[in-house]
């Protein structure tokens, strides 16, 4: 135990003395939190419209006003021909091109169904889908309002609604995308620390030869692994605390569930990641190799984690693969606990799986860690 403490002390001394790595450890996360949350999200905040209004009537004006009333749509161009609209999509000046037909207003008043042509730049399939559904919703509102406004006058049309349909968006009433992303970004933060720093730390001792000196000492495997992993475990948990305060203050993420539960889950998760870092260090000789492998693993973990795109949207085989992805479990846990107020019982299964992974990878890494070579 005493030996472990001295190894930890030594690691901390080295971490805090490295003038190049220190900013990377402590400043990078802040930048990451800011940039990632703001850049890395699929929230559609702005859709640029190109409008070709052939009717130029009061109704067509109202439709345009309706569209830009929220902050979402912005008319960036008014074109005179359908070709022109297509061109602004091709050259990426606009995301959606509308063509409002002649006689738009007259047909509306006559109770007909004038057709507005909506062309969407679908290159980004997701954004296209969202724009489409936003427009559909706004058009529905427009129809209801416009028809109600003219209903009094010519035709007493619209029947009473048979179904009174209402919608509630739970856990995120204002539909803030930041709140959805923040837990994922916390996970990325601590994963970086675990995978990169821990892995590269041991490879660095290999590269500089100091590992030899350690290997002739009576330090045993458990002491070595504990002494090497604990500092980064603590560091990552410290970073998590920092990140939690940050997302609370800056993004006002609701903390519905138990914060202790989040830390407990993260503590188990970090054992998985740190052991993986250790495993990488046992199969690599240089920091460059270690970094490449860590990067490779991390990219795949994050892409398959459900951080950006729901795991449920993946095909079955990919879903099976993501069952082996620790990142997916922790993101799921944090989202459920913080945003939905899940209790330990609700996430028991995930916790068990993570614990199993932690035990397995640690054992594997421990077995591969040798003081002598064959």
């Amino acid at each position: 135990m005493r030996t472990i403490l001295f190894i930890i002390q030594k690691e901390f001394l080295q971490i805090f003395r490295n003038k190049q790595m220190l900013p990377i450890i402590f400043v990078m996360p802040i930048i990451q939190l800011f940039v990632l949350v703001h850049a890395a999200n699929f929230e559609i905040r702005s859709i640029r419209l190109d409008v070709n209004d052939m009717d130029r009537s009061q109704a067509s004006q109202l439709l345009q006003q309706k569209l830009v009333a929220g902050d979402l749509f912005r008319i960036v161009n008014t074109s005179a021909t359908a070709m022109e609209g297509r061109r602004s999509l091709a050259e990426a000046h606009a995301d959606v091109a509308l063509v409002i037909p002649h006689n738009f207003e007259r047909e509306l008043r006559e109770g007909k169904n004038p057709v507005v042509q909506v062309s969407v730049d679908a290159l980004n399939g997701f954004a296209a889908g969202v724009s489409q559904s936003y427009i559909a919703a706004l058009v529905q509102e427009f129809n209801a309002e416009y028809l109600a406004a003219i209903a009094a006058a010519p035709r007493g049309g619209g029947q009473a609604a048979a179904i009174d349909l209402s919608s509630s968006f739970w856990y995120n009433r204002t539909m803030e995308y930041d709140i959805f992303m923040a837990p994922g970004i916390l996970v990325v933060l601590i994963t970086m620390i675990g995978l990169f720093l821990a892995g590269m730390n041991i490879v660095k001792e290999k590269e500089s030869g100091t590992i030899e000196q350690l290997n002739v000492t009576p330090i045993n495997r458990v002491q070595f692994i504990a002494g090497k992993l604990l500092p980064f475990w603590l560091l990552a948990l410290g970073e998590l605390s920092f990140g939690m305060v940050f997302v609370k203050l800056v993004f006002d993420v609701p903390f519905l569930g138990s914060i202790a539960l989040v830390f407990a889950a993260a503590a188990i998760y970090l054992v998985v990641i740190l052991s993986l870092g250790l495993l990488i260090s046992t199969v690599t000789e240089t920091q460059q190799q270690a970094m490449f492998i860590a990067w490779f693993i991390m990219v795949i973990f994050i892409l398959m984690s459900g951080m950006f795109t729901p795991i449920e949207s993946m095909p079955d085989w990919a879903q099976s693969i993501s069952r082996g992805n620790p990142v997916a479990y922790l993101i799921e846990i944090i989202r459920r606990v913080l945003l939905k107020g899940a209790a330990a019982g609700d996430i028991a299964q995930q916790l068990w799986v993570l614990s199993g992974m932690a035990g397995g990878v640690l054992l594997l890494a421990g077995l591969r860690q040798r003081k002598s070579t064959a």
């Binding site: 850049a39 905040r45 297509r86 730049d121 997701f126 349909l165 539909m175 449920e312 949207s313």
Partner: protein, 367 residues
Amino acid sequence: MRAFAGFVRKEFRHIIRDPRTLLILFGMPVIQLVLFGFAISTELRTSNLAVLDMSRDEVSGAILDRMRDSEYFNIVEDVGSEEDINAAMQAGRVKLGLIFGPGFAGRFSSGDGAALRIVTDAADPNTARLLQSYAAAIVRQFQREQLNAPETPGMRIRTALLFNPLLQSVYMFVPGLIVVVLMLVSALMTSIAITREKEMGTMEVLLVSPLRPFQIILGKVLPYLLLSCLIAALILVLSQTVFALPFNGSMLLFWVECLLFIFTSLALGIFISTVARTQQVAMMVSLAGLLMPTILLSGFIFPIENMPLPLQVIANIIPARWFLEILKGVMIKGLGIQQLWTQTAVIVFMLLLFTGLSIRKFNIRLQ
């Protein structure tokens, strides 16, 4: 010239002798392409639904049948209270709930407005919004049919999805992947390779050799140039054969623009290596300063228009942002140089800038 050829041969050998790194360089884009093409999708598949039905009559039953028949919903729980829906969502078992108010059939036929509430798990706001709109559409459709209502008046929209009618994510990711890989190989690998030479002291040996300084740099970057082209070609071939991605523009323009971007990245890599003293610094600067922005701020995954203004401004100084627009234009939209000259001009400007800076830095170091 023979000395130069020998030097280039040595550089190639360095790369080929590290099969692990080579495997990652070629394997990474392939695996990512497969993931983006087959696994990662934003299109919704079947979502689980919980029902709280306070009426249990023929109308609510009919609506539930409609839900069941649609490809989007799978009714997994029939619960007794709103709290049960909450619990099911907390445990991650369902994504949305339908709450039928009391006396549903009666109010439906009398036109009193039978209450139906759609509750979605908006922890993921985008998915929630989509699910809500799908469910609402099914309900409205049902209502229209039941009431035998004549076509309601009001405008209709006809949507055309241009360039990617099936909304496949590969369309977006293939150009993005090419950009990231070119940046990774040309800038990151180059900067590390040259810095390693400095760190080991072998740069001094090369500098006193008959090789001219620009030959040394050229010899160092040539293998990476070739490697970049090979990987770009690999991605292109895979995207056409496996994913049937169309290629609507000019192949010549594609490669000219690729080379332009590769040269810009190489210049960046060289510039970093003139500043960094150790491999680790070169690595970190390349990762944080080049690769991260390329992935996050180029519009590869996340649309630039959705970012806050400061990030949009920063995005403009990232070469990848401009190159990505070019690639999308050439590959998918079939644009020619007439439409893409602005972006091309920006990249040429950056290329000249970084080359100039590197040469200055390098000369200072030599004196």
